[in-house]
């Protein structure tokens, strides 16, 4: 109940943030302009529209999660609104989870709006509603949950600017981590290989949530892959949230 109250207030606060609508506007522009890109590229124009559209949803969703998530706790401490919350009979983890779920709900709404624009644009070109696109969007949502938890973690001990840089780095590294797999194959066995292997397992692999190509190309995806991605997302998000709670529970609000 207390978490719900904080989440609802976070949602109310977030939907009043202009940056959200600015990003939504640019996401819509990118989705619409995918048609132009389709004209300049060789290949099936609808597939390019779908690919660019889904990428835009993923990218702008991540930007929303990072830009809003990094200010989530910092703003409360900076403006001292947290004083009257923490002094109430509430555990600090409840406050943090409330903030997390509030932003997740906001992102869910934003994702729905972007999806609506995207599906309407695809419908305009194909005259069919392609429901399988929702599978790709659902995994984008799981990715956003993880990115939000990371932004929230940084927000617990750093300023919004630094937190944004760290979270953005997390996002970029997460989408390029697959390169390490290739590197592992090329490095001869030894200390170096072990280190790179350890690094590969530690850093996030956000490509686990990327089913855009498979969905657009109508490729078969084994259900184990879906299950693995869901579990990966759930446990990684949980892990980051636990660290955030540990950091936050001992923090002084000066």
């Amino acid at each position: 109940m207390k978490i719900k109250a904080i989440a609802f207030n976070t949602f109310k606060e977030a939907i009043r943030d202009r940056i959200l609508y600015l990003l939504l506007f640019f996401a819509a522009v990118c989705i619409i302009f995918s048609r132009l890109l389709a004209l300049l590229t060789v290949g099936d124009k609808v597939k390019i529209i779908k690919d660019v559209g889904l990428t835009s949803i993923s990218l702008f969703g991540a930007l929303m999660a990072i830009l809003m998530g990094t200010g989530l706790v910092f703003k409360e401490i900076d403006k001292k609104t947290i004083y009257t919350i923490v002094s109430k009979p509430i555990h600090r983890y409840q406050f943090l989870l409330g903030k997390f779920f509030g932003l997740i709900f906001t992102l869910f709404i934003m994702l729905l709006l972007m999806s609506f624009i995207f599906l309407a644009w695809v419908f305009f070109h194909t005259f069919t509603i392609e429901w399988e696109m929702f599978v790709a969007i659902l995994f984008i949502f799981f990715e956003l949950c993880l990115v939000t938890s990371v932004a929230l973690l940084f927000s617990c001990f750093s300023t919004p600017i630094l937190s944004s840089i760290f979270s953005l780095a997390f996002y970029v590294i997460g989408h390029t981590a697959w390169g390490l797999e290739t590197l592992i194959k090329k490095i001869p066995p030894g200390m170096g290989k072990t280190l790179v292997q350890a690094l590969y397992h530690f850093i996030p692999d956000l490509e686990n949530f990327n089913f855009k190509t498979e969905i657009v190309q109508h490729l078969d995806i084994p259900s184990e892959v879906f299950l693995y991605s869901i579990l990966y997302g759930f446990f990684y998000t949980l892990f980051v949230l636990i660290i955030a709670v540990l950091v936050f529970r001992k923090r002084d609000f000066i």
Partner: protein
Amino acid sequence: MGTVLKIENLHKSFKLGFLLKKKEILRGISLSVEQGEVFGYLGPNGAGKTTTIKCILGLIFPEKGKIEIFSHPHLSPKAKEKIGFLPENPYFYDHLTASEFLDYYSQLFLLKKGEKEEKIKNLIRLVNLEDSADLQLRKFSRGMLQRIGMAQALLNDPSLAFLDEPLGGLDPLGRKEMRDIIVRLKDEGKTVFLSSHILQDIEMICDRVAIIVNGKIINQGALHDLISEKILFTEVILSGVEEKELEGLGEYFSGHGDRTLLKVFKEENVEKVLQHVQSKNGKVHSLIPRTETLEDLFVEIVKQR
């Protein structure tokens, strides 16, 4: 009467600057607050008043010391259920209206719907914000924010209310209203822990005070024990008498028009002044004996340190 708040040997320091130099803010604070009293916590700026309150409320963690609220550890939900807090310079969620704000906070106390609505209505009436209940907090003046802050502090009908500078930034009328609320809380048997440096107000409403300077409690006790009731001097405002004629009887202080303010330090001289004025057909406009004030005591203590 039982002890509602007990603090023993509280220490807190902060690491400041690039080199994280340690600065001791609280150096062994010990105090206790009894049920039903208004306890004044006084000190100059930077003495450690707000830091003490933050430690009590769990906003910061002390390095050493023990805090108990109603015999419970201060961080336990049982303790927090019984307290209310109004911070200094309150800043709340400015996108919410006054009613929405109180509704949000009442959910943190798990108040039931009917009870919640009734309570919010009563509190808005108590702090005189009935006309602004549906106004966003961003449109509130400083005084209005202070009043809505007071309302949120009383949402759970607390047995112990912590008020950090509740009278700061208020106009005289606002200060009176706030004082009335505090007195009303006392009349209802609640305990108030009041941090302030507006000494006249403290003197008016507090039963006991503690004075903190540089992170240490210098003096604490009942107001009547701390302040001497002995007359320090008598202020006499008179007219119709030349200043020169009053030399030796008192200290000429100031003159306004034909009136003269005279500070008379010896009681026998007061009689002489009155006789002299009468003999010269002058007029005594006022005669006020001055006892020691909390301000005198406070200034003396702070100067000594």
